[in-house]
């Protein structure tokens, strides 16, 4: 089996300050990798470098493309990277406003990726949008409403539908449950887990919420000061942390 994503020596500095340094890991098809650490630990920088939103200073991000096998994403041309970004890759932002078009209807939001890859049949685009709204538990009657009329949890589910409609293989998530009520979080987690399993998705989830990664991630990477200080199975890292910082992190959290 070929890894879906192989990251080697990824480094990004902001002037003299380290964003992330020498990050390497391998992600296999169907795996969910959690990245935890406190604010400023470099986890968001890492995610943005991986997803192509930031240009790293050094390193490789090798993705197993459908057509041509493993390729370094950082060496791709911008059009290739964009095509990847709307077909095989997806990015779920913490704030749904960053990932949705707030002045476009829910159906238009979901349909955009389809139209971006060439769908030109209104009826089919709309049918697919309706199907995806149902999958993320948004009533079909809301298809022409704008996301600004939705609750935070619904907006986040809409963002997920918008991202998954083209059947991506790798999803980046930045604090996907941040800013939501606890009960809404649970519903969203359940939804994401179900989609990951049914679609065979791989995902990289950045969060500072250890309860979220315990339920969502197979594996965990702990970051501090831009570096990966511990990796392992999620339950192993949380239940038997080795690094001093991880022990502190785990012991500081109220038991969930």
């Amino acid at each position: 089996m070929t890894p879906l994503l192989e990251v080697r020596g990824l480094t990004k500095a902001y002037g003299g300050r380290i964003g992330c340094a020498e990050v390497s890991f391998t992600l296999w098809p169907g795996e969910v990798l959690g990245i935890v650490g406190e604010s400023g630990s470099g986890k968001s920088t890492l995610l943005n470098c991986l997803a192509g939103h930031l240009a790293p200073d050094a390193g490789q991000v090798i993705f197993d493309t459908r057509g041509e096998g493993p390729r370094d994403v950082l060496a791709m041309t911008e059009p290739e990277r964009r095509m990847l970004g709307r077909t095989d890759w997806a990015f779920v932002h913490q704030n749904p406003r960053d990932g949705l078009r707030m002045r476009i209807s829910a159906g238009g939001n979901v349909g955009e990726r389809l139209m971006a890859v060439g769908a030109r049949h209104y009826g089919e685009i709309r049918a697919q949008a309706a199907d995806w709204l149902a999958r993320v538990e948004i009533a079909e009657g809301r298809i022409d409403d704008r996301p600004s009329a939705f609750s935070g949890g619904m907006q986040q589910r809409l963002q997920i539908a918008r991202n998954l409609v083209t059947g991506p293989r790798l999803v980046f998530m930045d604090e996907p449950t941040g800013g939501l009520d606890v009960s809404v979080q649970a519903r969203l987690l359940d939804l994401i887990r179900g989609l990951v399993r049914r679609m065979g998705l791989s995902a990289i989830v950045v969060t500072h919420d250890l309860a979220v990664v315990r339920l969502l991630a197979d594996r965990l990477m702990v970051m501090k000061d831009g570096r990966v200080i511990e990796t392992g199975l999620t339950d192993q890292v949380l239940d038997d942390p080795q690094a001093p910082y991880t022990q502190l992190l785990v012991s500081s959290v109220l038991q969930a």
């Binding site: 296999w28 519903r187 359940d190 690094a243 001093p244 022990q247």
Partner: protein, 226 residues
């Protein structure tokens, strides 16, 4: 099926002056297919720790644990994940699930993760829940709201959904009434008959006597005790 050799485990408490607490040294035992081994020893002797190392939940500092050809102490996370999916089951004392998921799906999940058809997985889940006397009206609810005994039975149903060749049981009969206890013991006996290698912790002495073929006293592995 399960080979434990010269296993060592210590905890380093970095948050408390880097104190090093050795908990297990020189542990070794073997479990054959169809055999059930009970871990014994006083509370705090390290029974749960051994079980957790066997599951890959705790890291070992030395020795090896080979299950189905994979050395858990050295394997890559994804090898352990596959082992847990296909080969190695674990019934812990606590049920940890996403709050909103219906009981039926919680129990069916190990089979769905193996890629079994949804109908087949749900059928098996229904069968186990019925057998463990979880009232059908509760199946569509999340088990997070259930009583301790009900949660334990859901946990057992989940642990037995797939016929794992290797199975770890942490007090499977605790907090169960006599009738359900009997059912769980039957499930264990059936798993044994099906060729599963089982390692368990049983505080219930009668249960232990009934299902365990051998006992391994964990106190013997306590560092400094020798």
């Amino acid at each position: 099926m399960i080979h434990v050799e010269n296993l060592a485990k210590s905890f380093t408490l970095h948050t408390q002056g880097s104190a090093v607490i050795p908990v297990i040294a020189g542990a070794g035992f073997t479990v054959a297919p169809g055999e059930c081994v009970a871990l014994t020893g006083e509370s705090g002797a390290g029974k749960s720790t051994v079980l957790r190392i066997l599951y890959g939940n705790y890291l070992a500092q030395g020795g090896s644990v080979r299950i189905g050809g994979v050395d858990i102490t050295r394997a890559e996370p994804r090898e352990i994940l596959r082992l847990r999916r296909e080969t190695l089951g674990y019934v812990s004392q606590f049920l940890r699930v996403v709050p909103r998921v219906p009981t039926l799906e919680v129990v069916a999940e190990p089979l769905l993760a193996l890629g079994r058809p949804e109908a087949e997985a749900l059928d098996r889940a229904r069968e186990l829940l019925a057998r463990l006397r979880i009232p059908e009206r509760l199946w569509s609810l999340s088990p997070t709201t259930f009583s301790g005994g009900e949660q334990q039975r859901v946990n057992i149903a989940r642990g037995f959904a797939h016929a794992y060749p290797a199975l770890l049981l942490d007090e499977p009969t605790a907090s169960l009434d006599a009738v359900n206890r009997e059912t769980v013991l039957e499930l264990i006996e059936e798993a044994k008959a099906g060729g599963a290698a089982i390692v368990g912790i049983f505080h219930d002495l009668a249960a232990r006597a009934r299902v365990a073929d051998r006992e391994v006293d964990v106190s013997a592995f306590t560092p400094g005790a020798a």
